[in-house]
């Protein structure tokens, strides 16, 4: 049955309407969870607010386990979904650069858009930064084109690489996430006791 648009069950003329609707839901969830505040987000790195970990890991559990069930019931053909390609070295470097961007800027791209929506000037400046960064990348692309394309493993999943079936990863991740929810509860309590200047 699924994916519905690639399989022609929903016509591709609906593609952009669906894009806006899914985007509205995405933006709503991000803002309602508190991701329109940079100080909320960075709390995950300092222990005074683990909302990012809670939302992110819960979402991963639901999506991973959900995909397994959709596959099991035959609702979704997993061979037809897009798998992000893996370019090992550029992706590690990219993640490290984004880590610096996250700590310095306090947002990631999606969250900054919702913060602009409620009037945060720091989010507007962050988004201008995104634009400049991607522009700089594009202009200097010839300098690192070969590195950008290095370490290409293709569109591989964890199962392709290790041979371990996906449900095992979903189960293992769920256990790790639950342990993280439990452990960070105590860390947060302790750090908040010593934090005075956390106000919105």
């Amino acid at each position: 049955m699924g994916p519905l648009i690639p399989n022609g069950i929903i016509g591709s003329e609906w593609d952009f309407v669906i894009a806006i609707l899914l985007g509205v839901a995405f933006g709503f969830i991000l803002e309602a969870s508190g991701f329109s505040s940079s100080r909320n987000i960075t709390g995950v790195f300092y222990g005074y607010n683990f909302v990012v970990l809670r939302v992110f890991f819960t979402a991963l559990i639901v999506a991973m386990v959900g995909l397994m069930y959709f596959d099991y019931f035959g609702w979704l053909d997993l061979s037809k979904i897009f798998i992000l390609p893996t370019y090992i070295y550029p992706m590690i470097l990219g993640g490290v650069i984004m880590g610096f961007g996250f700590i310095m800027g306090g947002f990631c791209p999606g969250t900054s858009f919702t913060a602009i929506a409620i009037g945060k000037i720091d989010a507007i400046v962050f988004t201008i930064g995104l634009y400049l960064g991607i522009f700089i990348f594009s202009e200097s692309y010839p300098l690192f084109e070969s590195f950008y394309n290095s370490g290409n493993l293709g569109n591989v999943t964890l199962t392709d690489v290790t041979g371990i079936p996906a449900p095992w990863f979903a189960a293992a991740f769920t256990v790790v996430a639950l342990a993280a929810f439990w452990g960070t509860m105590f860390i947060e309590k302790r750090v908040r006791k010593n934090t005075k200047e956390y106000k919105f």
Binding site: V51, M104, S112, I121, L130
Partner: protein
């Protein structure tokens, strides 16, 4: 005591586990309908390519990176992620209105730093995130969340690299936040 009062003062957010379940279901529905996940940085990339293509079309078409995203039959803005991102903004606005968080333009920062410093670091942070997202084939939404949810190795790599780096360097930037 004082601390808990301040924390209770925060704007009302939904329960993070509820937010997580909703976000997970959204990723699931998105993959089910479109065969792909969510994203965010892609829309900014489209804007960069579009501006370059309008102002200096010859340069844009010669640029080995941007030329991949230019086509003759439609504008680079005419992509799924641009429409999705318009939705993200609208959804954020809707939630902000509903929970009373849409206020006049303001700068949020730790009391230990000035607004100016906050904005300078927001700009640098945004630039780094923009550059990193191109190497990473996506940002926290497209690579770390949607990629990991579909068990893509690349998504997991990006997720660990972003958060791992964040924890390693957090100490050096603590004055920005706490």
């Amino acid at each position: 005591m004082n601390t808990s009062k301040i924390i209770n003062n925060q704007p009302k957010y939904i329960n993070p586990y509820l937010g997580g379940v909703l976000l997970g279901l959204l990723v699931l529905i998105t993959v089910f309908i479109t065969g792909r996940g969510l994203g965010a940085s892609g829309a900014i990339k489209s804007s960069v390519v579009t501006t370059a293509n309008v102002i200096t079309p010859d340069n844009a078409k010669e640029n080995a990176y941007m030329s991949q995203f230019i086509s003759d039959d439609h504008s680079p803005m005419y992509t799924w992620l641009v429409f999705e991102t318009i939705g993200v903004f609208l959804g954020g606005l809707l939630s902000g209105i509903l929970f009373g968080r849409v206020k006049k333009f303001r700068i949020e920062h730790s009391p230990k730093i000035t607004s100016r410093k906050r904005l300078i670091f927001a700009l640098i942070g945004g630039m780094l995130f923009g550059i990193g997202s191109q190497f990473g084939r996506g940002c926290t939404s497209g690579a770390a969340l949607s990629g990991s949810a579909t068990f893509a190795l690349g998504g997991i790599i990006v997720m660990f690299a972003i958060f791992g780096t964040g924890y390693v360097i957090a100490y050096f930037f603590r004055k920005l936040w706490i």
